[in-house]
Symmetry: C2
Subunit: 499 residues, 2 copies
């Protein structure tokens, strides 16, 4: 049996050892070096000028795989920097003057993007170095990711050549970088961008296409094979970037794990870092063994290391996007006590159950809240958490939305409550907007507590869409997903309080 696993982490020892090691070496941390790294990374993420190698003479339309040529994509995005197409036959390409060699470009170039067959790359990298380009993104596949010796040899050749030149390599096997704030993308894939406060690093460019419910992040770096630029460099850039409030990482393996975890811990004390680390499980472990002859149980080490570094680990792409959105949309969660409001006892129980599952607590309402609920509910109904408003509406024929507003306000005001989960039926297309009004009002008057919703019913898609387009509150299609997001918020607050 043969597996393809690319870019595998090699670590040994426990997570504590890794982070311990990282702390010691902190003393050797060189602030000047960090500033150099940031300046270098700015060439990749905020280029004012870019040279592109490997453009077809006429623009590509989007193909079966969703790809198109780098120049077309860049022009479509509306990038305002200087663009230098490089093509041996010169002339004009897509209306821009093309240069036969990068050496002929009369100005300075911040970034070179290369998408040509692999055997041409070492020669082109040399030209870039000679031209004084400090940032080179190699999109081409078939280097360390290839199964043959030639690919590995070519990559070594490039690595050896650039070392010490001041030029650094992103990739190979990358889509490069994207930056919504300057409409820049070096990808050969239609990039979905949005000026949001998410800084993103990944080891597969597919994330540039956006996932369900999450447009590509404000700023993104695809490390690809990660032969040179790796997570630490990207984290140092995102750490100081004022536009980045939340950091998302898709990790297959980290080359320099001690340095990565040291930097991650420092950054996590300022901005939340959410990591989707893939390669869990026996198949992956077996594959790691076949590469390194060591290390079963590597995944537990990652768990421990992430925990110490304050990095929030998620399990799949859906949890990844849910969590990233939660961190940039919701208020922080300062404790673990959740108040649940629903119109149905059955789904209220599910909300309570989810709290238990994701490490949160069922809030105990104050006498004030309890007495307010007592006035609203029918006399025979027990008052507690979850607060089930169904019978009140059914028996006492009171207005659902007004009651909700009163109850949400009371529960939010309760000092025994750190967050609110609302469970409601989307029985009409307009429901989402109505609930959003209530939620937004509550969220604005209680900026220190998050509020999330779970919607069921025939118009769930409409209700979720309504919430997704807005800020400050979030809605989910299951109580588990709503509470899981709150759980991550609470974990991060706890880390920040301790660190």
């Amino acid at each position: 049996m043969k597996f393809k696993f690319i870019r595998i982490l090699v670590v040994s020892g426990s997570g504590q050892q890794i982070v311990g090691l990282a702390k010691q070496t902190d003393l050797r941390y060189d602030a000047q070096m960090a500033m150099d790294v940031v300046a270098q990374m700015k060439k990749f993420v905020e280029p004012e000028s870019v040279a592109i190698f490997g453009i077809p003479r006429s623009p590509m339309s989007v193909t079966g795989g969703g790809t198109l040529d780098v120049l077309t994509n860049l022009v479509n995005q509306g990038y305002q920097g200087r663009i230098y197409p490089i093509h041996p036959r010169g002339g004009k390409i897509q209306g821009l003057k093309a240069y036969a060699s990068v050496m002929e470009v009369p100005e300075n170039i911040d970034l070179a993007v290369i998408n040509l067959p692999r055997d041409l790359i070492p020669g082109l990298v040399k030209e870039c170095v000679n031209k004084g380009i400090r940032a080179v993104a190699i999109l081409t596949q078939g280097f360390a990711d290839a199964d043959d010796d030639e690919g590995k040899q070519l990559q070594r050749q490039i690595d050896d050549f650039v070392r010490g030149t001041g030029t650094r390599i992103l990739g190979p096997n990358t889509l490069g970088t994207a930056n919504a704030y300057i409409n820049f993308s070096s990808a050969f894939m239609e990039t979905q961008m949005e000026k949001n406060p998410i800084g993103f690093m990944c080891q597969t460019g597919v994330f540039f296409m956006s996932l369900a419910g999450l447009k590509l992040m404000g700023k993104a770096i695809d490390l690809g094979n990660g032969s040179d630029i790796h997570f630490s460099e990207g984290l140092e850039y995102l750490e100081q970037d004022a536009e980045t409030k939340v950091i998302g990482l898709h990790i297959e393996g980290a080359k320099d794990s001690a340095r990565f975890l040291r930097v991650a811990r420092r950054v996590a004390c300022k901005k939340p870092i959410i990591a989707l680390k893939t390669g869990r499980g026996e198949w992956a472990a077996r594959s790691i063994q076949s590469h390194t002859g060591s290390l079963a149980g590597g995944d537990k080490i990652w768990d421990a290391a992430f925990k110490q570094a304050g990095v929030i680990r998620v399990d799949d792409v859906e949890e990844f996007t849910d969590t990233i959105r939660a961190f940039y949309k919701l208020a922080p969660m300062k404790g673990r006590r959740v108040g649940v409001i629903s119109y149905t006892g059955g789904f209220g129980v599910m909300g309570i159950e989810a709290c238990q599952k994701y490490g949160l607590e069922v809030a105990e309402f104050s006498p004030k809240t309890t007495s307010l609920l007592g006035e609203i509910l029918p006399p025979w109904q027990g008052v507690g958490n979850p607060a089930d408003l169904g019978p009140a509406i059914m028996v006492k024929k009171i207005s659902a939305l007004e009651t909700l507003e009163t109850v949400v306000e009371a529960i939010f005001d309760d000092t025994g409550v750190d967050a609110v989960l609302g469970i409601f039926g989307a029985f009409a297309p307009s429901v989402g907007a109505a609930y959003y009004q209530v939620a937004e009002k509550a969220a604005m008057s209680h900026p220190g507590k998050p509020i999330v919703f779970y919607f069921y019913g025939p118009f769930v898609a409409e209700a979720l869409g309504e919430f997704q387009a807005r800020d400050g509150v979030m809605a989910f299609p299951s109580p588990n997903r709503a509470i899981r997001a709150l759980g991550h918020l609470a974990d991060y607050s706890e880390f920040r309080m301790k660190s």
Copy 2:
């Protein structure tokens, strides 16, 4: 602290003991009794005539909570049976002749639906019994579900009265029943129905509103408090019902767990049963203890009992709808070996990881499949599972969809493969339809193997919608969810082979 937990199971001993006990008592199983139960349940689920107590004189429009009156909902659904409104002032209600008492109705009545204040119910039930109505659904809340003594007393009064009369009670605290095949619903909530092969039982009527991605089931029974009719009776009905192919259960607790599990095991040998059992976790356990003074760890008993009974347990509403849909849309999965096809190595790894997580295996491709892939992929790329077609499209510029068709066909044909997961980018609105064609063709020529898709990219919603409207294949917004559904299919096939 006060919790509201309604209808809690009381069991002791291990799951094995429960099922063991169930098997012994199988000898006492009375086929005649089962037939009586089925005849009784048909009055609830397939009524030819219905009397309705508690209708406003003018139709209610949908209120804040999504509710409306039972008669309006029933008429809206297009029910063709006889409807008898019962109202003390007689006259006409919504164009139908109303009777001051059920005794005045000149014909036989299959089902009575009562939605009036709780203290009126015992008297009305007596009238129904006197009229010879064998099926009475009590929608009213505030009986065993109430916190006061009066509610419990009223419920006991009803229970005692009907015992031995031949009349049986559904509820109280129920939405009653729904049957898409005869456009019938007794709910005071807009019921979402669809003639699909799903038989459903629940302990909260909210399911009648439909969940994300799943319209209400073909036939549904809300047990409510379950004072009389319970899961066993419903299962016996669904067992013999030719229109039901898949059974979904939402369980808070089972009154007669030994009988329930015995019947469930028998039914599971014919039709898959998917159960969402709520009340997991310490908070729930604590609440159970405060009711019975016993039984921590009750949840593990349920796990064991479900497993022995061949019932597929799911963890939340999203997994519930995913799994129910998988069983009625997909081919059975006869083994555990999954072939993964993707356009990106990074997401291929996630597919592999999900297999491990959900108890499936990474298929080893046959030499024939391997050699076909070898021809398609660039020479430097390793051939294996996942089959990453990205480089082939990128480097060899081949057509994505045609290649996919060839590869899907080859992997489906491979005797070492039991199911296929495709991981693709929805980069345009038309992508879903194109992939659906490929998937449908493959599914039809291989009726013994399921195929599922995971879509990422900007047009995920469109792609999922395309697949949701069709039969035979399914698409999901994460690899975990796609593989989890396959895992349940494989577990059930294994149960059927063993039993």
